[in-house]
């Protein structure tokens, strides 16, 4: 009799974010020799490729699938087929997903966006122009963060949102070019909110080259190692993230619990930093959403503590 297998499917293989997540996936497998864990992902960031990967996992009949969807809605079909075949499905970053048993969120996305905005507001003195970036308009969480930020900014009538939701297509150079153009159109802009993990790299470079480190406030999601040099120079003022390794670990742990038939209750401690006291609410479908408080804020002073 083979061990139950949990396969984690990420948005795209190879990006630093998901390489870090793979560490968590492997760690759970090492800590628990009753299950076999592994991580795969498409070679291109395309929802269709991800759906095809999962399709094959369903045919292969693995025990559980843990997915970080490129696009939640386009996976509904295949995940439903997975459920029909008796495969346990858990997801991450997909609170609108119907065909999942458990969706795990590191935090409330709207609140996360608002947090960014709060920092930007504080930094720019609650007045002036600001803008937001998204990896792509199709990335649900990025849009949620941008919208959460915009919502929060309404508290400050002096703040003006301009040219919102610029798409960087997950390419630092595109983010850079867009940021340059925004600086030209709005020379007095003070705040940037990044969406994709490399947006701040591109924005930071544009700000640095324009010599505006001290006149602008750049916040966004990012990884400490990638953003380090811009944090040093002050072009990027702060980044936030949740540790993908922990997210990977938690996803596999939850999947394992589902396989074993254990219930996840409100306030439960999942034994991972940030998920010590999770909130459980009803999901979009029959499943539940488990929300942690796993964000980490990092700036020039402390980014060195994180080795990824």
């Amino acid at each position: 009799e083979e061990k139950p297998s949990i396969v984690t499917v990420v948005k795209v293989t190879g990006e630093n974010w998901f390489t870090r997540m793979a560490e968590g996936v492997a760690a759970y497998g090492n800590d628990n020799d009753t299950v076999a864990t592994s991580q795969i992902g498409p070679g291109k960031a395309d929802a269709a490729q991800q759906a095809r990967l999962i399709e094959d996992l369903v045919a292969k009949k693995v025990s559980a699938i843990a997915v970080v969807p490129m696009d939640a809605s386009s996976l509904e079909g295949v995940l439903k087929r997975a459920a029909q075949r008796g495969i346990k499905v858990v997801t991450h970053e997909a609170d609108s997903m119907k065909n999942t048993l458990v969706d795990i969120e590191a935090f409330e996305n709207k609140a996360f966006g608002a947090r960014f905005n709060e920092k930007i507001a504080e930094c720019m003195g609650k007045s002036g122009k600001w803008t937001s970036f998204v990896g792509s308009l199709g990335s649900l969480t990025h849009v949620q963060w941008a919208d959460g930020g915009a919502e929060n900014a309404k508290k400050y009538p002096e703040m003006e949102l301009v040219s919102e939701k610029n798409e960087s297509f997950n390419d630092a150079n595109r983010a850079y070019e867009k940021a340059r153009e925004i600086l030209r159109k709005h020379p007095d802009i003070k705040g940037f909110q990044g969406g994709s993990a490399i947006d701040v790299i591109g924005i930071g470079r544009a700000v640095e080259e324009a010599g505006l480190q001290d006149k602008t406030c750049v916040f966004g999601i990012g990884l400490p190692k990638d953003t380090g040099s811009y944090l040093e120079s002050g072009a990027v003022d702060g980044i936030s993230f949740w540790d993908p390794k922990d997210a990977g670990y938690v996803m596999n742990k939850v999947a394992d619990m589902v396989i074993k038939g254990e219930e996840i209750k409100d306030g439960m401690d999942l034994g991972v930093p940030g998920y010590e006291k999770v909130t459980v609410k009803k999901g979009a479908g029959d499943g539940i959403i488990v929300v942690g408080e796993a964000w980490v804020d990092v700036d020039k002073s402390n980014y060195g503590k994180y080795p990824f």
Binding site: A59, K60, E76, V143
Partner: protein
């Protein structure tokens, strides 16, 4: 009526298909060769297969013919059809009407999109690569504008869902449709005046004109059919994902071309066989699934596809003698 011809391409592709199944049976075991997996693989073929058929037709028409706008139009068809329909026909109350209306609307969008390509290429005279790159951006852009970039979830609509997931005689419905359409296109190409004219046009456009072949009409029709095929792909995508979105399958542009050229369709026009496109699509699918079963990275799969393509052209066209002669001189 006409003898079915076995040629090098067909032999090669059939071999790859069989080899993938045999390799799967040996390396993976029973789970690869059970019915469910064949159904699963078959139902993954059509979205790409319809697009590849479109690329084939465009390439066959010659003069740098290509359709880069296929997946963009597929997505736009789905997005637009659902966008305009969702408030008009309640999917829960009239699922059948909803489904057929969705299909009709999507085909309509595909028709219009295909006609736009056909108009630009045949009537205005744009280079196909420019025209379809432009419309690719346009179609994608329109889908973004309609949805603000987010996905629209269709939810569970039984007839639509059945089309994406159910089977008839153990064959997934969408794959059966793909076979029927492929067969129809094969028949059209082979046996109708339109098909023969398209072939001749791709062979020698000038001679075609002198022979009275209405080149503009043929080109226009060809790209219109490409548009229709794209919208069928869009319907398949909507049925299988229960949602519509502008950026689904962005990697398909190149893969559809890969399938077509691997099927031996000549990029300079005038030659292409539907059966080879079908086999080319299934062989890529089987290899891909095989690698996924074996937990081999997707990058490696792309590597294998590339190598397979190169091996294919090497075996079909390599003239060792000529090469050595040239090397000596």
């Amino acid at each position: 009526m006409v003898a079915f011809q076995m040629d090098r391409q067909l032999g090669f592709l059939a071999t790859v298909n069989v080899a993938a199944i045999v390799a799967g049976a040996i390396l993976v075991g029973a789970s690869f060769v059970e019915l469910y997996n064949f159904q699963s693989m078959a139902s993954q073929v059509p979205e790409l297969g319809f697009l590849a058929l479109g690329v084939m037709l465009a390439m066959m028409s010659g003069n740098g013919g290509i359709d880069l706008s296929g997946i963009a139009l597929a997505n736009l068809s789905g997005v637009a059809a659902y966008y305009f329909l969702r408030d008009v026909i309640p999917a829960d109350e009239a699922p059948l009407l909803f489904t057929w209306s969705l299909i009709g609307l999507a085909l309509g969008v595909g028709l219009v999109g295909g006609m736009l390509n056909g108009f630009l290429i045949a009537k205005v005279g744009l280079t196909p690569i420019i025209a379809t790159l432009g419309t690719q951006l346009l179609f994608t852009g329109l889908a973004i504008v309609l949805t603000n970039g987010s996905a629209l979830s269709i939810g569970y609509v039984e007839p639509l869902d059945d089309f994406g997931n159910a089977t008839i005689l153990s064959v997934p419905q969408c794959f059966a449709l793909f076979l029927v359409v492929a067969l129809a296109i094969g028949a059209i190409l082979r046996f109708t005046p339109f098909g023969q004219r398209l072939l001749l046009l791709g062979n020698n456009a000038k001679a075609a004109r002198y022979a009275g072949i209405p080149e503009k009409r043929i080109l226009f029709l060809t790209y219109t059919v490409c548009g229709l095929l794209a919208s069928v792909a869009g319907i398949v995508i909507a049925a299988r994902t229960s949602s519509v979105k502008w950026d689904y399958g962005t990697s398909y542009v190149l893969i559809a071309i890969l399938i077509a050229v691997m099927a031996g369709v000549r990029p300079e026009g005038g030659y292409g066989r539907v059966i080879c496109v079908v086999l080319s699509a299934t062989s890529l699918q089987m290899l891909s699934s095989l690698f996924n079963f074996m937990n081999i990275s997707n990058f490696f799969r792309d590597l294998a596809w590339g190598v397979l393509l190169l091996v294919f052209i090497a075996t079909s066209g390599f003239d060792f003698k000529a090469w050595f002669r040239a090397a000596r001189s």
